[in-house]
């Protein structure tokens, strides 16, 4: 991305973050690092939370989008409750996820993107999610050969009756789809 494109991306991102409750506090980041120190995934992130905001200010947001960092957030909200500036950082991460998918930064096979999209497909199909179907579809989409590694646990769960092979579809699925269609999108759908 060239500098102008990154500036455009940064502006769009900030505009969307400002629409989140308390999102405007993103400008008050002190770079204290409490978020990164609290994050359970930060040691495997290329851009831990504090660094994401540093990258944003340095005009390097595109690099954050290109790394898998965003999808390593487990949504534990520890950064959010600890941030001394009151930045709802977990919500900032969600905005990065939504905008990242929308702009097509990571491929459809990227694990986080694939999981989110597979999950949403399931909800749109039946109105409910089926754990077994979700995992199968997700694995087939990302690493088809790994499906075999799920057999030992899958078999244990089947023997306990903990896997349903007939997922439930809600009676009001048509109504639900109509409602979803009537709602202006708020992300990448």
């Amino acid at each position: 991305m060239n500098a102008t494109q990154v500036r455009g991306l940064t502006e769009e991102f900030l505009q969307r973050v400002h629409a989140i409750p308390n999102g405007e506090k993103i400008g008050q980041c002190l770079q204290c690092g409490t978020c990164s120190a609290s994050c359970p995934s930060s040691d495997v992130m290329k851009y831990p939370p504090r660094t994401i905001l540093a990258a944003l200010r340095a005009g390097m947001l595109d690099q954050v989008f290109e790394s898998r960092t965003i999808w390593l957030c487990a949504s534990c909200y520890l950064c959010t409750v600890r941030c001394p500036a009151g930045i709802p950082f977990t919500e900032v991460m969600y905005e990065l996820k939504r905008l990242g998918i929308q702009k097509g930064f990571l491929g459809k096979k990227s694990s986080g993107v694939a999981m989110a999209e597979t999950f949403v497909d399931g909800v749109h199909k039946r109105g409910r999610s089926s754990d077994a179907e979700l995992i199968c579809r997700y694995v087939l989409r990302t690493h088809p050969t790994k499906i075999f590694s799920f057999i030992p646990l899958g078999w244990k769960l089947i023997r306990k009756g903990r896997i349903s092979l007939r997922p439930h579809r809600i009676a009001g699925i048509d109504g639900l789809r109509k409602m979803l269609a009537a709602m202006e999108k708020g992300g990448a759908l």
Binding site: A74, Y77, M115, V123, R162, I163, I170
Partner: protein, 300 residues
């Protein structure tokens, strides 16, 4: 005549209780029955969307919750769930609905296309909160027929019940579950990981992170001498229970420990039987531990 009218609640099991965590569903229904909590399953409920849906579309995620909340509102009932993720997603939708008038208008308009509506009047409870804060100590103690004396429990709260809003309990040092365990005679032990993350969905999308996070939890619980871990969320339970072998071969050490839903531990103290608590669904045997034959932890 007693003038107090017992409220009726909408019970929202959530998708993972359908099969994978059906023991949580079975034990929840039986515990509610014994405690005299009237919970009726929300009719034709839909998935709350959990964390993956809001990672794609925040507005439609709120709409998914509003449909459920609207059905419950029509019945004049508050919602009770036992899943921390469903709980947070509903809470978030309620906050958005109240704080953002234009989103509220859009949600209502969308609901109306399907013949539904929501006005924002439904309170969302996690069953733990309802039992501890609303029923309270005396009501629980009155129902205990088999105190779990000597059972050392690692009370595990995870994330999404207590964060980010902190409306139910302290976001880092929660106490609700510890209290409940004390009321039923068990001994909550400090293991330092009560409110740390199990990895959530990363167990599937980034297994190496998930296994390490859950592994730390299991190890600490064993080290602190717990007989079992008690959970309040189906995903936490699954992460902590189902991967113990994989975790042991990855990080070594002592990671084998029964992981129970809080309704199973509570139900045992209320005198419910193994079938009523679906104890045989567990992948790690739990009956011996609950019968008072603890695994005698503490030897790391």
């Amino acid at each position: 005549m007693n003038a107090t009218i017992q409220p009726v609640y909408s019970y929202f099991p959530g998708c993972s209780l359908g099969a994978t965590n059906r023991a949580y569903d079975i034990s929840t229904r039986n515990v509610a029955r014994v405690l005299g909590l009237e919970m009726v399953e929300l009719e034709d409920w839909n998935c709350c969307g959990a964390t993956p849906y809001m990672a794609i579309d925040s507005r439609r995620s709120a709409l998914l919750s509003a449909r459920n909340l609207g059905i419950s509102e029509k019945n004049g009932r508050d919602i009770v769930t036992v899943c921390s993720s469903c709980y947070l997603v509903f809470q978030k939708a309620n906050h958005q609905f109240h704080d953002d008038p234009s989103l509220r208008a859009d949600i209502r308009k969308a609901l109306q296309t399907g013949g539904m509506d929501y006005h924002g009047n439904v309170r969302v409870w996690h069953l733990l909160e309802l039992i501890v804060n609303d029923l309270g100590k005396e009501a629980i103690e009155r129902h205990v027929v088999r105190p779990l004396d000597g059972l050392k429990v690692a009370c595990y709260y995870g994330c999404q019940l207590i964060r980010p809003y902190g409306e139910v309990d302290d976001p880092e040092f929660p106490v609700l579950l510890n209290r409940l365990m004390e009321w039923i005679g068990a001994t909550p032990i400090d293991f330092g990981m009560e409110a740390k993350c199990c990895g959530g969905i990363l167990m599937t999308t980034q297994p190496e992170i998930g296994l390490d996070l859950s592994g730390k939890l299991l190890k600490q619980a064993r080290k602190a001498g717990a007989d079992c871990i008690c959970t309040i969320c189906p995903l936490c339970q699954m992460n902590l229970e189902a991967y113990q072998e994989k975790i042991t071969s990855r990080i070594g050490g002592d990671c084998k420990i029964p992981v129970l839903y809080f309704t199973q531990v509570l139900g045992k103290a209320l005198g419910l039987g193994s079938n009523e608590l679906a104890l045989r669904d567990a992948l790690t045997p739990v009956e011996a531990v609950l019968a008072g034959k603890g695994q005698g932890g503490g030897h790391d």
